[in-house]
Amino acid sequence: MNVVVLLKQVPDTETVIRIEADGKSIVTKEIKWIINPYDEYAVEAALRLKEKKGATVIILSVGPQRAVEAIRTALAMGADRGMLVDDPAAEGSDALGKARVLAAALSATAFDLILCGHRAVDDDENQVGIMVAELLGVPHLALAVALEMEDGKVKIDRPVEGAKVTLQAALPAMVTFGGSHAVWNPRYASLPGIMKAKKKPLDVRKLADVGLAAEQVGAGAAKVKVTAMEMPPQRKAGRVLQGDAAAKAKELVRLLHDEAKLI
């Protein structure tokens, strides 16, 4: 069984975001890059399948050269091989453009299961994985917090507003991951793992290598694009209540009721 994990490298969640002089991108200097946390859960789930059922785990990413580091980390966790599509012509792609690159690379790879985070914590778009499923014509199970394989089918649990749903799909299928660090508890790369990862195959490809014409992706093909970025309105520290606990409680209820009119 071939399990492909789509992985994006993103700024660490502790990063303080600042806007670049061009007004529509962020300052990337001194950013610490990590594997998108939700993609990391997908790597963990893939490795558990490998241990339980036997599988080849392939890491696939589209992005700049620095993404090699994120792929190597996943290889050190235990994945078998990696592929990065790094092509300047893909820069400025919208979600559909990125999905086209990934779908093209997947078309040239035998896969049974595709796994990735439901969203990347940089753009928060929640689009690319789902679009890949649509382009490849495979079912998609969203926001997995548990995953099982049974009789050639994949089964997941996912929370929706006010309920928990169990879904299943025939292979090949796409599963996107939700949950949290506490749910998936992704493993750390061990020192022997890091040593081994250096020798694992990691192909860097161009768009032409995956059979995609440059005009289909990139800024020119983007249907939607960022025209300006801005910082959120600064919240000002408000009022600090005075008195003992009882006085503060009374005052807070009064403020919320009379002034803010919230309760």
């Binding site: 928990k164 660090h181 801005e230």
Partner: protein, 330 residues
């Protein structure tokens, strides 16, 4: 020629979900700005009878597909039907709720139609006859404005729940209803096996108006009963910081932050939460923030409208009692 605004609604358990009225209200605003009409697409089991009521929120005409198999969302059934309808209607703008199912539906539709999609928008407007939207990035650490390439139609956007103002419903206005002639695909490759309702039908954090949230300062799972009680009286729901979820005190579905839920309630009460940058990204857009923490230097106080420097174990019981008194008199 592409014309008008079309909203995709969400119908579950015999009723439209509130997000449907939010996208309808927002759709009406955009349609008026364009000087064009507002249509809606409504799929579901038993949706036909409820469809005229979308007119209360400004919809002119609803295209319905009413079928028992459409009870729960399943991409294989919903996507081809909605994609066909949109191709026939050829709207300029398509709005979808950015709910769990709406996110799947909208991304698939965009891929199928070759359209540009902006998800989870918090502000939408029409400028020079074209859609322009604002949406948060990095869980709200920054915002970006998006525009569509010339001729890229439809312009698709999903609306973050709880953000768009709902119109005051006008019961005298009913929408025209047309049954769409479609045939649903046969056997599907994926199925919903089971749907298990949360106990007490807990309100999801992303749609809650009031959230009482607890962090590391709660000291243990058992102490969340205090927050549950307060949330109950206020008609709200309980959230948690990543520290509390990592400690196993709360389920992951309660996690607020960059690797959890981004919430926009009217009132967010943070108890024993210091305010790590990844947490503040998730709740910084709340309309009103109250912080209870015994450390006066906690970063959460820099964002709070009202700060209470107290031991929460002393403060919360007294505060809950005061709220109870207030609620029993009004």
């Amino acid at each position: 020629m592409a014309q008008g605004v079309c909203v995709i609604t969400e119908f579950r358990d015999g009723a439209f979900r509130r997000v449907s009225f939010e996208v309808a209200s927002e759709g009406r605003k955009l349609a008026d700005a364009l000087g064009e009409g507002l249509t809606a697409v409504a799929l579901g089991a038993g949706v036909e009878a409820a469809a005229p009521d979308l007119g209360n929120y400004g919809v002119d005409k609803v295209y319905v597909v009413d079928d028992a198999r459409l009870k729960d969302y399943l991409a294989e059934l919903y996507v081809p039907v909605v994609a066909d309808l949109l191709q026939n209607l050829s709207p300029k703008v398509v709005l979808v709720p950015a709910s769990v199912d709406g996110k799947d539906l909208s991304a698939r539709l965009a891929a199928r139609l070759g359209a540009g999609l902006a998800t989870d928008c918090t502000q939408l407007k029409v400028e020079a006859g074209a859609l322009k939207v604002r949406r948060p990035l990095y869980a709200g650490k920054a915002f970006a404005w998006y525009e569509w390439a010339p001729g890229a139609l439809p312009q698709m956007a999903s609306c973050r729940p709880n953000v768009m103002d709902c119109r005051i419903p006008d019961p005298s206005k009913k929408a025209a209803v047309e049954k769409a002639a479609v045939s649903l695909p046969g056997a599907t490759k994926s199925q919903v096996l089971a749907m298990q309702k949360d106990v007490k039908g807990k309100i999801d954090l992303t749609e809650a108006q009031i959230i009482v949230s607890g962090g590391r300062g709660m000291k243990g799972a058992e102490n969340y009963a205090m927050l549950e009680e307060l949330a109950n009286i206020l008609g709200g729901t309980v959230g948690a910081s990543r520290a509390a979820v990592d400690a196993g005190w709360r389920p992951h579905s309660d996690q607020v932050g960059q690797t959890g839920k981004v919430v926009t309630p009217n009132l967010y009460i943070a108890c024993g939460i210091s305010g790590a940058i990844q947490h503040m990204a998730g709740m910084g857009s709340s309309k009103f923030i109250v912080a209870v923490n015994r450390d006066p230097e906690a970063p959460i106080f820099t964002k709070a409208d009202y700060g209470v420097v107290e031991d929460l174990f002393q403060f919360l019981p007294v505060f809950t009692e005061e709220v109870r008194k207030l609620k029993s008199t009004c």
